[in-house]
């Protein structure tokens, strides 16, 4: 068990993030990483049709470059939080910033539209455009580029996500894992400042998940932007997460490094962590 902890710690250091509590992590982060961090101070209320408050979200945290896992039961506010960050849901008060770039500030009346936030969102059901080919889906967000530049970027990202041969197919003509890769490629080809993923692999089998996690991990290692990843899946948490935040009724009830999460794992889970750790190290 002790050996495993050392191993897990070494794995985490390999991801350039110390295994410690969030406040210590913030103190130790390089200024370059802080300049790219996502800072959220969010207060959001959902009003039921009868006019009574049925849900409130009050969440403050800083997501540094790397993968921050967001966990919690259904209705805890995970998806609402992502939608607030992306500008798809209206916040009542608070601030959202990436580095020193304010996306939302209720006091200063700043509220950037989703299209100006440079935040990529991979939805739970992927939201691939059914009337467009895979190539058109991937290049959707590159409308402002010249055709030559757009094609070059699209081909490059499709190759890196191993979907190059699917370019002319419609989303309905490819498998679930391929759709997942298309959604990731479409989100990342725009070179976003932040990536949000809302249970993107909930419908995939373990082997497909592992392959896509490898792709995402490699992309993360190369680009290092804040990635907020909502999942219930313990394997995904262990394979991707550098930090795990747990929400309950719209509030953060725990904010742990992966080590802390590991400590809660059962012995059986621990063996799987070991496997995923060694797998991660190889891919890096």
């Amino acid at each position: 068990m002790g050996q495993l902890s050392v191993f897990a710690d070494w794995f985490r250091l390999g991801w350039a993030l110390p295994a410690s509590r969030s406040h210590a992590r913030a103190a130790n982060a390089s200024s370059q990483e802080l300049a790219r961090s996502l800072e959220i101070r969010c207060a959001h209320r959902y009003l039921a049709p009868d006019g009574q408050t049925s849900f409130s979200l009050e969440t403050n945290f800083i997501a540094q470059p790397g993968v921050t896992i967001l966990r919690g039961h259904s209705g805890a506010g995970k998806t609402t939080l992502l939608r607030c960050i992306a500008g798809l849901a209206a916040m009542e008060s608070g601030t959202i910033a990436v580095g020193d770039r304010l996306l939302f500030d209720s006091v200063r009346k700043i509220n950037l539209e989703p299209r100006h936030r440079k935040i990529a969102f991979v939805f739970q059901h992927l939201a691939l455009f059914p009337h467009l080919s895979v190539r058109e889906n991937v290049g959707y967000g590159l409308r402002k580029l010249s055709e030559t530049d757009r094609n070059a970027r699209v081909e490059a990202v499709m190759a890196s996500f191993r979907i190059g041969r699917l370019g002319d197919r419609l989303p309905s003509e490819i498998s679930g894992g391929e759709k997942q890769r298309v959604a990731l490629a479409r989100a990342l080809v725009t070179e976003p400042a932040v990536l949000l993923l809302d249970e993107p692999m909930s419908s995939l089998d373990t082997r497909t998940k592992a392959l896509i996690i490898d792709d995402l991990r490699a992309w993360n290692a190369a680009h290092r932007i804040p990635i907020v990843y909502v999942t219930h899946d313990a394997d995904e948490v262990r394979a991707l997460g550098e930090r795990a935040i747990t929400l309950e009724h719209g509030r953060i009830v725990s904010d742990d490094s992966l080590l802390d999460v590991d400590c809660e794992a059962t012995a059986a889970d621990t063996r799987r962590i070991e496997n995923s750790c060694s797998c991660s190290c190889h891919s890096l």
């Binding site: 992306a86 500008g87 798809l88 539209e113 989703p114 299209r115 936030r117 935040i119 990529a120 969102f121 939805f123 059901h125 939201a127 455009f129 059914p130 009337h131 959707y140 967000g141 409308r143 402002k144 419609l170 989303p171 309905s172 479409r186 725009t190």
Partner: protein, 275 residues
């Protein structure tokens, strides 16, 4: 289970067939029992050609106006958080259930020479009745609900997550509409536009009140029936039914020509992008 299902299918088949025969027999009897060559030759007379021109021109203008004004209204009713939304939707459907003659009288009261809108125009020698403008106004009144209702239903069926995704990928609201919402809703809207065109082309009762002349095909059909009886009216009826059959055929196969999807999708048949 299988036996029960077969019994049910048989029962529904018999019930459906009775209704289908009631719908198809009159049209089939006309199309199969007519001498096509003679019918077409009968159309080759100045009054009939003039009526056909008036019908095609007026319905063409009307369908253009209905699309330009009706599709945005359908989108607003589907997506916008409007006050009294149910009331607006009810008002859109109202002309579908108002009897044709009553509709004509309502329009005449409004657009006629003594109506609140018609009078100022009439004072400047711009009559809104008994001309092509009057016919277009009638056709819009009776047929626009098809365009608005189909747009409303089609936009409501577009997954909001797709529109949200387009927004996060850099699209403005207008770009989301033109690149995502409209292409996905188009198959349903197209069927509404086609039905509206058929409705406009066949409009008779309100037109009779509001714009008796110049004659549209349905009014000319009435005139022929009154003056010459069944024999004189049959070629015109044949022509109108033939146009309607062609229009329905085109609308049901629109995806083959435009490549934008299947117009039958709103009726429940799986589209090629359904997974």
């Amino acid at each position: 289970m299988s036996r029960k299902l077969n019994g049910m299918v048989l029962l529904f088949g018999v019930l459906g067939a009775v209704l289908l025969l009631n719908l198809v027999l009159p049209i089939g009897n006309l199309l199969l029992g007519s001498n096509w060559g003679s019918a077409l030759r009968s159309l080759d007379q100045p009054e009939a050609l003039q009526a056909a021109k008036v019908s095609l021109l007026s319905s063409g203008i009307a369908i253009l106006a209905m699309t330009i004004f009706g599709v945005p209204l359908g989108y607003l009713l589907a997506r916008a958080d409007l006050p009294l939304k149910r009331l607006w939707i009810g008002l859109v459907f109202l002309p579908m259930v108002v009897p044709d003659l009553a509709g004509g009288i309502l329009l005449l009261r409004l657009f006629g020479p003594y109506g609140p809108i018609g009078h100022p125009f009439d004072a400047h020698n711009l009559a809104l009745t008994n001309n092509i403008v009057g016919i277009v106004l009638v056709q819009i009144f009776v047929a626009a609900p098809f365009v608005v209702a189909s747009s409303l239903a089609s936009f409501s069926n577009v997954d909001r997550e797709l529109e949200a995704a387009a927004g996060t990928l850099g699209d403005s609201a207008w770009q989301v509409f033109t690149r995502v919402s409209l292409p996905l809703a188009w198959p349903g809207i197209a069927i509404g536009i086609t039905l509206a065109w058929i409705r406009a082309l066949g409009e008779f009762g309100a037109t009779l009140v509001m714009a008796y002349s110049p004659h549209t095909l349905p009014v000319f059909l009435w005139v022929k029936f009154e003056s010459e009886g069944l024999a004189g009216a049959l070629p015109i009826a044949f022509c109108l039914v033939f146009l309607a059959v062609v229009a329905v055929g085109v609308s049901m196969n629109l995806n083959r020509f435009t490549g934008v999807g299947d117009v039958l999708a709103p009726l429940g048949r799986a589209t090629k992008w359904d997974s």
